[in-house]
């Protein structure tokens, strides 16, 4: 027979895994699904969870008071999502007791990122160069796209730390990208400003948000799907606006 686990422990564990997954960019339907599954595997069948991109409401057996967790900053860390998913698999398979699960999740919560910031910046700048070629740019656009894409990504990270306002960082970063692309072009680096700018803007594009929004809408999570869609649209608009201003200056 399984040892009886206390209700508070289950609630704590579910909220912890839910928060980790939501903060690191999992789809909301996956978060809800994971939480109710874990609760069920510890014998709490009537768990209810309601997840939006900014918070989690979780209640067990409807007698217990509901718990609320607010998630204010979200990043993208898919390996955290993967590890949390594996832990939840182990729990539902019955391979992991509640203390061990809690320990592993706390460790995961405190673990740093897999790829350091310089690696990410290098990846962003390489991706920018490759995108310039993919969008039918000339090879002479490769280097300027790498430069402005890398600088734009650095700017994005820096501004995200500096300003609390969400879409302003994207706006400024794309403005810098546009300005830099035109400057490089005037120094004879690159042949087409369009291709350079499109390529270097790509790391800022809200691709994860778009796919998540679609998947959430499909799963019937209309609130999360629409709010993520709105976030994606506003981000795209901020990027477009930044580039547009660069265009009107140069």
């Amino acid at each position: 027979m399984k040892p009886q686990t206390s209700t508070t422990e289950v609630i704590e564990l579910c909220l912890l895994i839910g928060r980790i997954m939501l903060q690191n960019g999992a789809e909301t339907y996956r978060v809800e699904d994971t939480m109710t599954r874990i609760a069920a595997s510890y014998g709490k069948e009537e768990a209810q969870s309601f997840v939006t991109p900014t918070g989690i409401v979780f209640s067990l057996s409807q007698v217990e008071p509901s718990k609320l967790v607010r998630v204010s900053d979200r990043t993208t860390n898919l390996s955290h999502v993967t590890i949390a998913n594996n832990i939840s698999r182990k729990i539902t398979a019955g391979d992991l007791d509640i203390q061990a699960a809690h320990e592993q999740l706390t460790k995961l919560d405190q673990a740093g990122v897999k790829f350091s910031m310089p690696t990410q910046i290098a990846a962003a700048s390489l991706a920018s160069g490759c995108f310039a070629i993919m969008f039918q740019g000339h090879w002479s656009d490769f280097l300027p796209a790498c430069i402005s894409g890398g600088v734009g990504f650095i700017a994005l990270l820096a501004f995200h730390r500096f300003f609390e306002i969400k879409f302003f960082a994207e706006f400024l970063a794309s403005l810098i990208i546009g300005a830099l692309a035109f400057t490089l072009l005037s120094f004879g680096l690159g042949s087409e400003a369009d291709k350079v700018i499109i390529g270097s803007v790509m790391p800022l594009v809200p691709g994860l948000l778009i796919t998540n929004a679609v998947r959430d809408l499909m799963a019937g999570h209309l609130v999360s799907g629409l709010s993520k869609g709105a976030e994606a649209f506003l981000t795209a608009f901020a990027i477009g606006g930044g580039v547009a201003i660069a265009f009107s200056i140069f």
């Binding site: 690191n24 960019g25 999992a26 789809e27 996956r30 993208t76 860390n77 898919l78 390996s79 955290h80 999502v81 993967t82 998913n85 594996n86 698999r89 990122v113 897999k114 790829f115 690696t119 990410q120 990846a123 962003a124 390489l126 991706a127 490759c130 995108f131 070629i133 993919m134 969008f135 369009d194 700018i197 499109i198 803007v201 790509m202 790391p203 594009v205 691709g207 994860l208 778009i210 796919t211 998540n212 679609v214 998947r215 499909m218 795209a236 477009g240 606006g241 580039v243 547009a244 201003i245 265009f247 009107s248």
Partner: protein, 145 residues
């Protein structure tokens, strides 16, 4: 030559996006594979003058199918693979073009381009939805047996 360079750049770009999204190291190669497959399908449609929107739809469908296959095989959330593949298809270029025309007061040229960008995003969504539908019906049929 053109195809080789498209293949290599799309592979690198998708894998690099895996790095930006902090995907697990073991999945980076597969992310690149998914991304370049989708991009080549899209380019075939564009190059042979078939419809660009149909191309986006087919590419995103194939990407989602491969991503779901990988997800089952390696017990990893689908999103790890599908995101890297979808990103090249996102109509960033079109949206940019539309925005540029808007700023330069060419509303007549900007509107059809934005409509097209909208259609392309819709095509991505429909591709994802269709693969999900197929995936779920396969699961249900298997369960019934």
């Amino acid at each position: 030559m053109l195809w080789v360079e498209q293949l290599i750049t799309s592979f690198i770009a998708s894998a690099a996006f895996g790095v930006i999204f902090q995907a697990p190291k073991s999945t980076l190669f597969k992310c690149g594979l998914v991304g370049s497959t989708g991009w080549i399908i899209y380019r075939i449609f564009v190059e042979w003058d078939l419809n660009e929107i149909t191309g986006t739809f087919v590419a995103s469908f194939v990407i989602a199918m491969i991503a779901q296959f990988f997800a089952r095989k390696y017990k990893t959330p689908v999103i790890v693979f599908s995101v890297a593949g979808i990103i090249p298809l996102v109509p960033g270029g079109l949206a940019y073009d539309a925005m540029r025309h808007f700023v330069q007061n060419n509303y007549e040229t900007a509107l059809p381009i934005s409509a097209k960008a909208f259609m392309v995003s819709g095509a991505i969504a429909i591709g994802l939805v269709l693969s999900e539908v197929i995936n779920q019906s396969v699961k249900k049929i298997r369960k019934r047996r």
